[in-house]
């Protein structure tokens, strides 16, 4: 089964971040029916970095994530995970198993499964068909689930059906699913949409704590939230990078001001 070998090849240790960067996007182009969603995009994310990406609607943020996770194939350009892994040659599950996790803009969890089962399904491990037929949770895995539930504050909802969670809880559950997946790189699309102020703070804390061990890329509209977590911000506009730097630098960039006020 090619699937099995693939999963094996990209497991632990295959990721090579010896040149500091964990993600390389170079000269990417994507167009839909003539509309250039991504236009000569160049972006580098360092290992252990927490990067925020902002930009007006249609700037290409979601499309960029689609390319990194294998959902969309670009018309041209390169996308590498570490030094060795060519993302453009891999399918979505292969990329996920290589160590890139994604949280969607609209929270998507497995609605008819319990909260714990959602974590079980997302958990890092052998994801082949025949293995899953006989798979049982061991102590370590059970402990990880409980630990994660505590982190995301859903311990009380252990057996609850995920579909019955509130919007904010689903956001948390999805973050939890990301955590048990143990990715090297987390792509987080609008994590605080629909959250209360308090929840937002907790999310900020969580994301900050993740940085260092993991690399985190956050796409967010909420400027205040971005300011609260980001060291480095990238501004996307019309499918390419408009500006990059600290939040203050970016906010004073005249082109950024023009784009945001002009829109």
């Amino acid at each position: 089964m090619s699937e099995g070998e693939g999963a094996h090849f990209y497991r632990e240790g295959a990721l090579d971040t010896s040149h500091k960067a964990i993600l390389y996007l170079e000269g990417l182009n994507v167009s839909f029916d003539g509309f250039k969603a991504i236009n000569d995009l160049n972006l580098y994310i360092d290992a252990g970095e927490l990067r925020c990406i902002i930009g007006p609607n249609g700037a290409g943020k979601t499309t960029m994530m689609d390319i990194i996770t294998g959902k969309t194939k670009p018309d041209s350009g390169k996308a590498f995970f570490g030094q060795t892994i060519d993302l453009l040659k891999l399918s979505e599950p292969e990329i996920a198993n290589a160590g890139i996790g994604r949280k969607f803009q609209k929270p998507t969890v497995f609605e008819s499964h319990s909260v714990a089962e959602n974590l079980e399904l997302a958990m890092k491990g052998d994801k082949r068909v025949w293995f899953s037929l006989r798979a049982k949770l061991d102590h370590e895995q059970k402990a990880l689930i409980e630990e994660t539930l505590e982190t995301i504050g859903l311990t009380a909802q252990y057996h609850q059906q995920a579909g019955a969670l509130s919007h904010g809880q689903k956001q948390w559950l999805e973050i939890g699913m990301l955590l048990v997946q143990k990715p090297y790189l987390l792509l987080v699309d609008e994590p605080v949409a629909g959250m209360t102020h308090q929840e937002m703070e907790r999310t900020a804390e969580l994301l900050k704590s993740l940085a260092g061990k993991h690399s985190v890329v956050v796409v967010e509209h909420d400027m205040e939230f971005v300011r609260s977590i980001a060291n480095k911000v990238t501004v996307l506009h019309q499918g390419s990078v408009l500006a990059e730097g600290s939040m203050d630098e970016v906010q004073q960039n005249p082109r950024v001001v023009e784009v945001y006020l002009g829109v």
Binding site: S91, T108, F110, E120, L121, V129, L133, A135, Q160
Partner: protein, 369 residues
């Protein structure tokens, strides 16, 4: 082991107990009770019930892919028919020289078509074990190849439904051709015996009935076992959020292919048990109408419950037998209305009616355990 598999499956427990009782009582009432007694069950009824049981297994197979995997297959009749043809070919070979033309090697229709020798794909079907293998292999292979092609290119939803329908439609036309070597329009019939036992004998009929029941029970337990495993949870995850499943690292197409293939094999087994009981297999089994009817059995019973599929298949087919007998005109009206009403007002099927009842009776729902 059974208790482990059937944990939290009250419907399945009840269904299997009833099935076991029927499998014990019916043969006794047929074989051991005198024909003059009021309690006697005539053989034709035993065979009819056996037929329903094969339909129930077929419905379980469809529920597996529709209810749990979210694939509405409008082509499962094809797998059923292929299993049936594989069994039919064995039964044809069993006729030997007792056919109208008395040819020991060739079935009658081949003699009629002036064929001189047995085509290569008929070789081996004189052996029961080989035929059984083919009952599993042929539908399984078709499902595997078809599924591999379709799921890999991510054909989903209605598109998939339509091409499964096209598949069975194409097969129907293919089997209608005399050149195919499966008896054309007339199909395979005039069977004499199976494993040396006459198909007309009451004992054989009862044995086939019991086999159908056992196949249903085993098929049910197998499906339940798979659905209780992590594999089952992934299957449901694919149904609910396919692309999310991909992003957590599951190769969705592989899961789909294996579940689809398993389902096709079960359908093939059902077909193989169906043919000796009804005594004929012809291309009409491939007709798209047949395949879509199976779906309504599942819908009536309630999908993603497995026992609902069994219930639905038996109820709808019982109704069909009764009404086509009493007022043949009305049956299609009723079947049509069933399609409309169930989708509109009973999306969970009869099993859905049972759920609130279950909670009312104090049965703890799974999630609160």
């Amino acid at each position: 082991m059974f208790s482990q598999i059937l944990k939290n499956d009250r419907g399945g427990q009840i269904m299997l107990v009833v099935l076991a009782a029927v499998l014990i009582v019916v043969p006794i009432l047929n074989l051991a009770v005198a024909e003059t007694s009021a309690l006697h069950i005539p053989t034709y009824l035993v065979t009819l019930m056996g037929k329903y049981l094969t339909y129930a297994l077929l419905a379980v197979a469809v529920d597996l892919v529709w209810g749990y995997l979210g694939i509405l297959s409008l082509g499962h009749g094809a797998f059923f028919a292929l299993g049936g043809y594989a069994m039919g070919m064995y039964l044809m070979r069993q006729i030997g020289d007792r056919g109208v033309y008395g040819n020991p090697e060739l079935p009658d229709f081949m003699v009629f078509l002036n064929w001189k020798e047995l085509p290569w794909f008929w070789q081996g079907f004189d052996q029961f074990w080989f035929a059984l293998l083919m009952v599993l292999f042929v539908p399984g292979l078709l499902a595997f190849v078809f599924g591999w092609l379709a799921f890999r290119s991510r054909v989903t939803g209605v598109y998939l439904s339509i091409i499964t329908q096209a598949m069975t439609y194409a097969l129907m036309w293919a089997f209608l051709r005399n050149e195919m070597g499966f008896g054309g329009n007339n199909g395979l019939t005039d069977f004499k015996d199976i494993l040396g036992f006459s198909l007309q004998a009451d004992q054989t009929r009862v044995a086939l009935f019991i086999c159908s029941g056992l196949a249903l029970a085993l098929g049910y337990l197998l499906c339940r076992y798979v659905m209780n495993s992590k594999l089952g949870r992934i299957t449901v995850a694919i149904r609910d959020a396919e692309s999310r499943t991909r992003f957590v690292g599951y190769k969705v197409e592989n899961y789909k292919v294996w579940i689809f293939t398993l389902s096709a094999i079960l359908a093939g087994v059902a077909g193989a048990l169906y043919v000796p009981q009804v005594g004929i297999i012809n291309p009409s089994e491939f007709s798209p109408l047949n395949s879509i009817e199976i779906v309504i059995w599942v819908a009536v019973g309630g999908r993603a419950t497995l026992y609902g599929a069994v219930l639905g298949a038996i109820l709808v087919n019982y109704a069909k037998t009764v009404f086509t007998g009493l007022m043949p005109e009305s049956w299609l009206f009723m079947l049509g209305a069933l399609f409309v009403l169930v989708t509109l007002y009973l999306p969970q099927g009869l099993a859905g009616l049972w759920q609130p009842l279950k909670t009312k009776l104090g049965h703890k729902p799974e999630v609160a355990a």
